[in-house]
C-alpha cells in the first residue's frame, strides 16, 4: 500500500504543525508515508473563485505527482473534495487520483480503522467543539449533514472518541458554515466575518474549551476572527489531537521538532 500525505499550500506554509502531526500519526500507525515534492496545491483556491482554468495547471501537477499512490491523504476536506470532483476531467492520471484521494479522518476511519487509531492512546482533557468543513461534510460523507433524514453518523467524531479525556460540546447548529469559503472570505468579508463570529459564539455557548477541525482553512479564518475580537480559543486539527500535540496551542507552533 503506497500512501502519500498531501499538505495543501496553506497548511504547508501557515500550519505546518498540523502536517507534522498527521505524518507522525500515520507513522505511529505503521503506515509508510511518502511526502512527494512536485505539487503544492490542488488549484481549488482559484477554481472556486471562478478561475478553474487558472487552477488547472496546479491540479494537473497534483494528478501527476500523486498518480502512482494507492491512497492520497489530504489534510483538508475541501481540497480532497476538489480533487475528487475535478481531477476526473484531466485524463487517466486524473481519474485515478480522483478515486484515490481522501481526507485524513476519512482515511483513518475507512482504511486504518478506529480500533487501530485507539491504540495510539491519545489523551486530551478538553471539551471540544467539532468543526467539519462544509465540503468535507457534504462532499465526503464525513458525517451526516443535518439536512438529511438518514441515520446519524460521524467519522470524525468516531476517530476523536478514541481520545481519552476528550468530550464533545453540543452545538446549537452543529454544521453551520463558519463563513470561510475561500475567496468568499475576501469578496464577502463582512458576511464572512459575521458568520465566523456566530460560529464562535455557538462554540462558546456550548461550553467548548477548544475547537477541533478537519479543515485548517476554516480554522485560520475562525482564528483570525477570534483573535481580532481578543479571543484565545485553541483550535486544532484532528491530527494534532491524535499526535498529542494539542496540549499547547498547536496553531501557534513554529513547526519545529518538539
Amino acid at each position: 500500500m503506497r500512501v502519500a500525505l498531501f499538505a495543501p499550500c496553506f497548511v504547508d506554509h501557515l500550519v505546518p504543525s498540523a502536517a507534522i502531526a498527521a505524518l507522525r500519526v500515520l507513522e505511529r500507525l505503521g503506515i509508510v508515508v511518502d511526502v512527494p515534492d512536485g505539487a503544492a496545491c490542488c488549484g481549488q483556491p482559484v477554481a472556486n473563485a471562478g478561475f478553474a482554468s487558472a487552477g488547472a495547471a496546479a491540479l494537473e501537477r497534483f494528478a501527476d505527482t500523486f498518480a502512482s499512490y494507492d491512497h492520497v491523504v489530504v489534510l483538508s476536506g475541501s481540497c480532497a473534495v476538489h480533487v475528487r470532483g475535478h481531477a476526473t476531467g484531466i485524463g487517466d492520471a486524473g481519474i485515478r487520483v480522483a478515486q484515490r484521494t481522501t481526507e485524513f479522518c476519512a482515511f483513518l476511519h475507512d482504511v486504518v480503522g478506529v480500533e487501530r487509531v485507539r491504540m495510539l492512546g491519545a489523551t486530551l482533557r478538553a471539551r471540544v467543539a467539532l468543526h467539519i468543513g462544509c465540503h468535507a461534510l457534504r462532499g465526503l460523507d464525513l458525517a451526516r449533514p443535518s439536512e438529511l433524514q438518514l441515520r446519524p453518523s460521524n467519522k470524525v467524531r468516531a476517530v476523536l472518541a478514541t481520545v481519552e479525556g476528550l468530550s464533545f460540546a453540543a452545538l446549537a447548529r452543529p454544521d453551520e458554515c463558519c463563513g470561510f469559503g475561500g475567496s468568499f472570505s475576501i469578496g464577502e468579508g463582512a458576511v464572512s466575518a459575521r458568520m465566523g463570529r456566530d460560529r464562535l459564539a455557538d462554540v462558546q455557548a456550548g461550553g467548548a474549551t477548544a475547537l477541533v477541525t478537519t479543515d485548517l482553512s476554516c480554522a485560520i479564518h475562525l482564528r483570525g476572527v477570534d483573535r481580532a475580537a481578543g479571543g484565545a480559543l485553541p483550535m486544532w486539527h484532528v491530527a494534532e489531537v491524535l499526535a498529542g500535540m494539542a496540549a499547547c496551542d498547536a496553531l501557534d507552533a513554529s513547526g519545529g521538532e518538539r
Binding site: C9, V11, D12, H13, L14, V15, P16, S17, I20, L23, V35, A40, C41, G43, P45, V46, N48, A49, G50, F51, A52, S53, A54, G55, A57, A58, E60, R61, C134, L137, R138, G139, P145, Q149, L150, D175, E176, C177, G181, G182, F184, I186, G187, G189, A190, V191, S192, A193, R194, M195, H221, R223, G224, V225, D226, R227, A228, G255, G256, E257
Partner: protein, 474 residues
C-alpha cells in the same frame, strides 16, 4: 416608516449598474442586532423544516422521486405542455402562451380589458413579480391588490418581497404596525400580530368582495388532466377565485407534472420544506371555471426554455419554490433578500437570475461559501452549489469580475502550480510580515485583515521541516 438611519432596502449597484451583492450584504450586517434577528427568524423556519422532514420515513426517497419526476417532465416538456393545453382547453380553460414578461403582461391586461375589469386581487405569484406585472397594470389604470398578508404589507410600503415564501420576513412587527397605522388606520403603536392580521382581514375582505378579477400563481399544473393546483395557508387564492368573475392563473412552463398521482410526492415535500407544516391549509385543485366564471391559464417562458437548453443549469427548473434553500443559506440569513437585487434571492435566485442577465447579476453566484446546505435541503435535489460554481466560471470567462481580481487570480493560479514560486512568494510575504507592525500588516492584507487578525507566520514550512527531519540534508 423605517428605523432612523435604516438604508432603503434596495440592492447596491456598481458603476456599471450590476448588482454588488457584497456591498449590499455589508450594509445589512452593519446592523448587528437586526442581522441576529433575521438569521434567527430564518433558522427557526429551517428547524421547523427539519422536524417536519424527520416525521416522514421515506424522506430521502421522496426527494429522489420528486427529482426524477421533474427531470423526466423537463426532458419532454414540449409534449407535456401540449398535452396540458389540449386537456385544459377541453375543460373550457383558455390557455395563453407568453414568450416573455412583456407578452405575459399584455395578455393579462388584454383579459382584464375585454371584461372591463378594473379591480384585480392577486394571490402570491413570484412569476408576476418577475414580470413586473403590478407596475405595468397600475400604470394602465388597474387597481391591483396583493392579498397574501406578507405581500400586502410590502405592497403598502412600496417595497418588493424580500423572500419568496415570506415576503415580509425582513420587517419587524413594530414596522408593520406603523405601516398599518398609516394605511389601514390601526391604533398607533399596535403591533399585536393577531390584531394586525384582523385589520388586514377586514381591509382585504372588502377588496375580495369588490374584485372584478383574481390572479393567482400556480404551484403545479397536471398535464394528464389539464388542471392546476394552488397552495396557500391564508385562503386568499380561494377567496379571490371563488368570488371574482375572472380567474387568471400565471405559471412558468416548468410547473408541469405528468400525472395527478405525482402530486402525492410533491405536496408531501412542499409545505414541509417551505414552512415545516405537514400540509398547506388549502391545496386547491382547479379543473374548470366555476359556472359563469372564466378561467385563463397563462403559460410563461420568459427565459425558461433558454435555461432548459443550458447543460449545466437546466436542473434549476426542477425548483418548486419552497425556499428551503433560502432559509438554510447562511449568507442569505445574514445579507437579507434585497442584497440580491433579484426577484428570487438566495441560492436558487443566484442560479436562476444570471440566466436572465449574467453581467448584471454576476456577483450572485459568488454570494455563497459553496457550503452545500442548499442542495442538501432541496426537496427536488437541485445541485445548487454545483451550479453556483459553474456560474462563477462563466462570469469570469465573460469578463464580469474586476480586472484587478482577474489579474490576481491568474497570477495566484500560476504561483500555486509552482512549489518553488509559492515558496518564494510566501517567503517574501513572511519577511514583510515579520518587520511590519501588526496594524499596518492587517491594513496591507486588505479585505482579509479588515475583518480578521492575520495568521502567525511559522519559521519553517512543512516541506522544509520534512526535508530536514525525514530526508536528511539534501
Amino acid at each position: 416608516m423605517r428605523d432612523r438611519g435604516e438604508p432603503r432596502p434596495l440592492p447596491v449597484l456598481d458603476a456599471t449598474g450590476a448588482v454588488d451583492h457584497a456591498a449590499g450584504a455589508e450594509r445589512f450586517v452593519a446592523n448587528e442586532a437586526r442581522t441576529t434577528w433575521h438569521d434567527a427568524s430564518l433558522w427557526f423556519v429551517r428547524e421547523k423544516r427539519d422536524r417536519a422532514a424527520s416525521t416522514v420515513e421515506d424522506w430521502e426517497a421522496l426527494r429522489d422521486a420528486a427529482s426524477a419526476i421533474k427531470t423526466h417532465t423537463l426532458s419532454r416538456l414540449d409534449e407535456y405542455l401540449a398535452q396540458f393545453e389540449q386537456r385544459a382547453t377541453a375543460r373550457g380553460i383558455t390557455v395563453h402562451w407568453a414568450r416573455d414578461a412583456a407578452e405575459h403582461n399584455e395578455i393579462v391586461l388584454g383579459i382584464l380589458s375585454a371584461r372591463g375589469a378594473r379591480r384585480l386581487v392577486k394571490s402570491k405569484s413570484m412569476l408576476t413579480e418577475e414580470c413586473g406585472l403590478n407596475d405595468y397594470l397600475i400604470g394602465r389604470g388597474i387597481d391591483v391588490v396583493d392579498t397574501d398578508l406578507g405581500e400586502r404589507i410590502v405592497q403598502l410600503r412600496n417595497e418588493p418581497p424580500s423572500h419568496i415564501v415570506m415576503p415580509a420576513i425582513h420587517l419587524k412587527k413594530e414596522e408593520i404596525g406603523e405601516t398599518f397605522h398609516e394605511h389601514l388606520g390601526t391604533p398607533a403603536g399596535d403591533d399585536d400580530p393577531d390584531a394586525l392580521t384582523a385589520a388586514a382581514r377586514v381591509h382585504l375582505r372588502a377588496r375580495f368582495l369588490a374584485a372584478d378579477a383574481a390572479l393567482t400563481g400556480v404551484n403545479f399544473a397536471i398535464a394528464e388532466t389539464g388542471g392546476i393546483v394552488v397552495c396557500t395557508n391564508e385562503g386568499n387564492a380561494d377567496l379571490g377565485t371563488a368570488l371574482a368573475p375572472v380567474h387568471i392563473a400565471s405559471m412558468g412552463i416548468e410547473k408541469l407534472v405528468p400525472r395527478a398521482a405525482d402530486l402525492g410526492v410533491f405536496l408531501r415535500l412542499l409545505a414541509r420544506s417551505a414552512t415545516g407544516q405537514a400540509s398547506t391549509v388549502y391545496a386547491s385543485h382547479m379543473h374548470a371555471a366555476r359556472p359563469g366564471q372564466a378561467l385563463h391559464v397563462v403559460l410563461v417562458d420568459n427565459g425558461r426554455s433558454a435555461q432548459l437548453g443550458r447543460a449545466d443549469f437546466w436542473g434549476s427548473l426542477k425548483c418548486i419554490r419552497c425556499a428551503a434553500c433560502i432559509n438554510t443559506c447562511p449568507v442569505y440569513r445574514r445579507s437579507g433578500g434585497y442584497s440580491y437585487g433579484s426577484t428570487v434571492p438566495g441560492p436558487i435566485g443566484s442560479v436562476l437570475t444570471p440566466g436572465f442577465d449574467l453581467q448584471k447579476y454576476a456577483s450572485l453566484p459568488f454570494a455563497s461559501t459553496l457550503c452545500g446546505s442548499c442542495a442538501a435541503v432541496c426537496p427536488v435535489r437541485v445541485d445548487l452549489d454545483v451550479q453556483l460554481y459553474k456560474w462563477r466560471q462563466l462570469a469570469v470567462d465573460a469578463g464580469y469580475v474586476s480586472p484587478v481580481k482577474g489579474w490576481l487570480m491568474r497570477r495566484l493560479g500560476a504561483v500555486l502550480a509552482d512549489p518553488a514560486l509559492l515558496q518564494l512568494t510566501v517567503g517574501i510575504a513572511g519577511a514583510i510580515l515579520r518587520v511590519v507592525p501588526r496594524p499596518l500588516a492587517r491594513r496591507l492584507a486588505g479585505a482579509w485583515g479588515r475583518w480578521r487578525e492575520l495568521p502567525e507566520m511559522p519559521a519553517q514550512s512543512f516541506r522544509a521541516w520534512y526535508r530536514a527531519n525525514r530526508r536528511g540534508p539534501d
